[in-house]
């Protein structure tokens, strides 16, 4: 059993009171540049997911509480939650620092693109 805490309303509970919504931080290419979406980008957006052993970032919903979506960082080996954060937010810096592989790459890209913007 996973013990989850909603960052929106503070409800704490069993994972059955919440709903797991798959991988977090997926960006729809057509939202950013509808005129230039390649088949590969669209395929990646729809079907390709990160499935790491270790730290992972997911979407969850406070199903039996406030009903809002939020983000969680969870270790897929120990099942330990590292952080719960808002649905429009990035994870806390210390959790980003622990990310490995594809997630480390993702956050590095995201932070550089946001600092340029």
């Amino acid at each position: 059993m996973l013990a989850v805490k909603c960052p929106v309303c503070g409800a704490e509970g069993d994972e059955t009171d919440f709903h797991a919504g798959g991988q977090a931080h997926i960006r729809r290419p057509a939202t950013h540049d509808p005129a230039h979406v390649t088949d590969e980008e669209q395929r990646n957006y729809l079907f390709i997911r990160i499935n790491p052993k270790g730290l992972h970032f997911e979407r969850w919903r406070c199903d039996r509480g406030c009903g809002k979506w939020f983000h969680a960082a969870r270790d897929t080996v120990t099942m330990e939650f590292k952080a719960f954060y808002g649905v429009t937010e990035l994870p806390p810096a210390d959790v980003i620092a622990q990310a490995k592989g594809q997630w480390a790459e993702y956050f590095a890209n995201r932070l550089t693109s946001e600092s340029k913007a």
Partner: protein, 200 residues
């Protein structure tokens, strides 16, 4: 020509026998679903002007004024309780007062069935169907929250220390009633601490 008429979802169910607590349906209650932004001072003031009490903004709390009670459902959603007759009045007053504000008010009086549990041991009975720890100090009078109860969506309102209202969607009324009748049977009464008496 057929006339629209309200029928309680639990009309005609048999009076339960041999329960450790009392359960009954509350059918004379109007409910209005209200949505809006707490950051909008105009919206908050307009609602208070109609219902007489400020909307509760603290998660899982309720507020009352006279015969009107408001349950917090989410950071932007509330359920306003009153008598059925009063709900019609309140709804039209709310709609007038909320003109121009980003908000929504809908009469949902027929959407849910309400079952009232009364008596010593209510918490233990409810805890047979939910993962919530109702012994936590949060669950005192004035607390309300949505929960997963007997695998379905429900809303719990702590009316008094030993009085609880469970709201479920209307189509689940019989299911919830039967679940309660089974789990509240006197010989199935649970004691949370200490030695449990063996039922005769």
């Amino acid at each position: 020509m057929s006339e629209l008429s309200y029928q309680s979802p639990l009309a005609g169910v048999a009076e339960p026998q041999g329960l450790s607590i009392s359960i009954r349906e509350i059918d004379e209650r109007g409910m209005i679903d209200l949505r809006g932004l707490t950051s909008d001072a105009g919206f908050m003031a307009a609602v208070k002007g109609v219902i007489g009490v400020g909307l509760p903004v603290k998660p899982r709390t309720s507020a009352s004024w006279g015969d009107v009670k408001v349950l917090w459902l989410s950071t932007d959603q509330w359920l306003i309780l009153s008598s059925r007759a009063r709900a019609h009045e309140l709804l039209s007053q709310l709609r007038d007062a909320l003109q121009g504000y980003h908000s929504l008010a809908v009469d949902v009086s027929d959407m849910r069935a309400i079952i009232r549990l009364e008596g010593d041991g209510c918490r233990e009975v409810i805890m047979k169907g939910t993962s919530l720890d109702l012994l936590d100090p949060e669950y005192v009078q004035g607390c309300c929250r949505r929960m997963r109860y007997a695998e379905i969506a429900a809303l719990l309102d702590v009316v008094e220390d030993n009085v609880f209202d469970i709201y479920v969607f209307r189509s689940f009324a019989h299911y919830t009633w039967n679940f309660l009748c089974a789990t509240a049977k006197a010989p199935a009464k649970l004691k949370l601490f200490g030695a449990q008496e063996v039922p005769a």
